[in-house]
Amino acid sequence: MSGRRSAWILATAAFGLVAWAVLSLPTPAPGLTDRAFAALDDSGVTNPVTAVLLNYRSTDTLLELGVLLLAVVSVWGLRPSTGASFGRPPGPLLEGLLRILVPLLVLFGGYLLWIGAFAPGGAFQGGALVGGAIVLAVLGGLSPSRFGDRPALLRAGLAAGLAVFSCIGLSVMIAGGWFLDYPGRSAKVLILIIEAAATVSIGLTLGCLFIGGRPTTDGGPEPES
């Protein structure tokens, strides 16, 4: 049990270090808060968080979408989907509830995407709701192999966020600015287009990650060799 004791000592020491580090932080914290708020009028949105995510630090968000796409590609590379559904829905009540809930979730995801410009919300939150709707639909009996019915469409949807984001970034460069440096008044529209594409991609990505495995095109499992 000496390993356990040393683990305890290590954990307590680490906790003490972190607590000391947090307590010794200066207050108010120095940061870019003032500059972020000062530039808010030019950012095209009034929610400072969305301004940071989609304007000031948009390269980070672009790369995050790349990470999500990579995650799906890796999962799909591991093995094809078994095509089996997640069992029958436990009862007709769940199916009836899902018929109402899934469209509502997608609608609310769109609402979060739109409201993200001026209030808490945005592409990731909206996309998470769309992903949740897919998870619920699959749990309620939707066969995962249905996602393999239109493979080109599915792949386009998965890549849409990264593709639209990069295309807009590059076309802004062609127009004479820096990468992702939205010109003046068009910022709001461009951010909304990027976020809409990102919402679709994030939702599909999270749904596909839950299904796990590459959806097969013929509706059945590929023969494993």
Partner: protein, 93 residues
């Protein structure tokens, strides 16, 4: 502001308890449930720290979708274990 202080203290205690149980519970299903509950409590905490964006993301991704992923993984694992005759939802002692 005594009430909010008590509330925050309870939140902190709850986070520590749920995190501990999520890591140490021998029954993996219960550990996953603790993890999902931990995500929800964290969402409330983010809201208390006036970060509603994070609260939304934590509740939807950290708690909901990760919880669903963990449960699905747990089921696949127990299916595989059932094929080979091993016990399913208990971790190594």
């Amino acid at each position: 502001m005594a009430v909010s202080l008590v509330f925050d203290g309870l939140l902190a205690l709850l986070i520590l308890t749920l995190a501990w149980r999520a890591v140490t519970d021998r029954l993996q299903f219960r550990a996953v449930v603790s993890f999902v509950a931990l995500g929800l409590v964290l969402a409330v905490t983010w809201f208390r720290l006036s970060a509603p964006d994070l609260a939304l993301a934590e509740a939807a991704v950290g708690s909901g979708l990760t919880g669903a992923l963990l449960l699905a993984a747990l089921r696949r694992w127990s299916d595989r274990d059932a094929d080979s005759g091993g016990s399913s939802t208990r971790s190594e002692p």
